[in-house]
Amino acid sequence: MLRALFSGDYPRSRVLMVLLVLVFVALLLAPFLFPGTRPLNVAAKICIFIVLVASYDLLLGYAGIVSFAHTMFYGIGGYGIGLALYGLGPSWGAIGVGFVLALALTAVLSALIGLFSLRVRAIFFAMITLAVASAFLILASQLSGFTGGEDGRSFRAPTVLQPGFRLFDGEIFGVAISGRIITYYLVFFAALALFLFLLRVVNSPFGRVLQAIRENDFRAEALGYRTVVYRTLANVLAALVATMAGALMAIWLRYTGPDTMLSFSIMIDILLMVVIGGMGTLYGAVIGVVILVLAQNYLQALMGGVSKALVGVPLLPDLLHPDRWVLWLGVLFVLSVYFFPTGIVGRLRQRR
């Protein structure tokens, strides 16, 4: 049972196992352990980003391709749900329509980009995805009649998912089961299922071929694997999962807009999370996301305190300003790539 669930790919480190169990339990019981709007927001973001980052790891860590279009696919999911709910009204049907259309658009776009640019070389792919993603971002901001432009769209979710909804009167452990909590569990279980699905993919024969191509594409080609086809499939698969993550985010936020769904800074976050957590491990996505999202939400406050304490010292307060946390993550990122390319998870596994 457990073996099937993990696809035979266990964390392979006691510390990592403990951390993962902690994260799992914390997320599972988040509405009860950490009541309040902000902690639940953080928990939902962690769930969704684990899927988003893990799907990116399928590309970067397993297939060895750098894409800058992952947020575009994430955004397609977000906008698909958002615009459907905005236009068709709050119903499950609208979610279905938006979801299917978003997936279809993603499949077509990712296959086209893959077939077009993966033929040549990895660097081409990186540049082309960057260009296409920027064009998409600008398009989404420009077509304001349709997308809401820079302001994006706020919309209402189906009744069951609305904050005012109560599943029943009364409370469990002192928490009323609102539409918010139902939405959270929708997000949580969808994310869990998608993560386990990705774990299954990377441990399937398909996943092994991808890794063989990453190690030596020339030899894989010589062995008869059509590397372009495999890499394109990986790209499509990762893009579809990213789209689903975007859809979950839109449902959770009941809002979709360029800054939250498409911006380049989300892409940077994804890169930081996957590299610091550990490329090519999938579990690295979990660790990377948890660390970065927590840092984003709580470390900044700490930095702010330190920064204030250092007022008067030249440069240091600026370096430690809460808005500069990305600087330190950037340094950590570069150091990770050099010194522990398998990230935190790789480090933990070495120690056992």
């Binding site: 070389r121 260009a131 940077i268 930081l272 950037g330 570069v334």
Partner: protein, 343 residues
């Protein structure tokens, strides 16, 4: 000696094509695009204004992209952090231009230009020096590993942009144009913006200088040979690494120059301005063919002209039109316009 001497004086002029001398077809693309735009735009003055705007922007993009494409051609290194040098160049210029505000506002074009020239020198020296450090610290440890290269240079970009925030503060910085090159020269119905003319001039100087170095000096000869086959250049006894560092530094300095020009064009500086324009830079070097200066030049002009024309005709799809251009060119020539030499 005789033969060498003779051909030195009767050889083709320095601005001949750096490579694939027989392949002139892509050269026709730029005039074709310009002429095609005339009937679509209709009005002659608007067409002139847009063409000048396109040429100016194209020159700036060329300045920023040329170093990047050479760096790639020589060592197969694509620096995603190149955008940081553009931003840093612009911010370094403020160190000169803001204190020299009096020169900038003087009603004397020579004082204006002197201030800008000084800013350019400072920006290029600064970004060149930074390029030296960047090459040593960020790029060198990951030679030959594309994946890590993209990641690490991306990391370098993040750090550099953040450092701009640390050093110059998080707010935007206004960088007004000097009096002498503000506004437009009006000839009949046609308005020619002075700064755009200035940008075209600077771009031409850079282009000619680059072609002279590439075609008339020994260093240029080695660079061209290295872009084609770096291993053979090593086998002939040249240290390609030193050549590469030199080109990397020059490319970074050019990015700094491009940053100053781009900053004056925008008149407002933000740390992410380099990365904004990098999207166009990447499209340009893909269109031109990785490693080709000449392809980069044609690509830059085409991308910028197209952006201005479509910006006028169909403003919402301007960047999309460039993606379309890239797709069309790659369908025609999968390695880019002049990408045949480097595989």
């Amino acid at each position: 000696m005789a033969i060498v001497q003779r051909s030195d004086t009767t050889g083709r002029p320095a601005w001949r094509l750096p490579r694939l001398a027989g392949d002139r077809l892509p050269l026709l693309l730029v005039p074709a695009l310009v002429l095609l735009a005339l009937p679509l735009i209709g009005a002659f003055p608007a067409w002139i204004t847009l063409t000048l705007a396109g040429l100016a922007m194209g020159m700036m993009i060329f300045i920023m992209a040329s170093g990047l494409t050479l760096v790639f051609g020589l060592m197969d290194v694509l620096n995603f952090g190149h955008g940081a040098f553009i931003s840093i160049g612009a911010f370094l210029a403020t160190l000169v231009l803001l204190p020299l505000a009096a020169w900038m506002q003087a009603d004397n074009i020579w004082m204006n230009l002197a201030a800008i020239a000084l800013a350019i020198v400072v920006a290029m020296a600064g970004t060149g020096a930074l390029g030296l450090v960047f090459e040593r610290v960020i790029v060198r440890p990951v030679y030959g590993q594309h994946l890590k290269q993209i990641l690490v240079t991306m990391g370098g970009l993040i750090i550099a942009e953040q450092m701009i925030h640390v050093l110059w503060g998080p707010q935007q910085i206004a960088l007004p144009l000097p009096t002498g090159i503000r506004g437009a020269i009006v000839v009949g119905e046609v308005a020619l913006e002075r700064y755009r003319l200035f940008a075209v001039g600077v771009g031409l100087v850079v282009l000619i200088g680059m072609l002279l170095v590439l075609n008339r000096t020994r260093l240029g000869l080695l660079i061209r040979a290295g872009v084609e086959n770096s291993e053979m250049v090593q086998a002939l006894g040249y240290d390609i690494r030193r050549l590469f560092v030199l080109v990397f530094v020059a490319g970074s300095a050019l990015a700094g120059l491009g940053g100053v020009m781009w900053g004056l064009y925008r008149e407002v500086l933000v740390a992410g301005m380099g990365m904004e324009v990098m999207v166009l830079v990447f499209i340009v070097i893909i269109i031109g063919g990785l490693g080709s200066v000449w392809g980069c030049f044609i690509g830059a002009l085409m991308v910028a002209l197209l952006a201005n024309y479509t910006g006028f005709l169909m403003p919402k799809v301007a960047l999309g039109s460039n993606i379309l251009l890239m797709v069309l060119i790659l369908l025609w020539r999968p390695q880019g316009l002049y990408g045949g030499a480097k595989r």
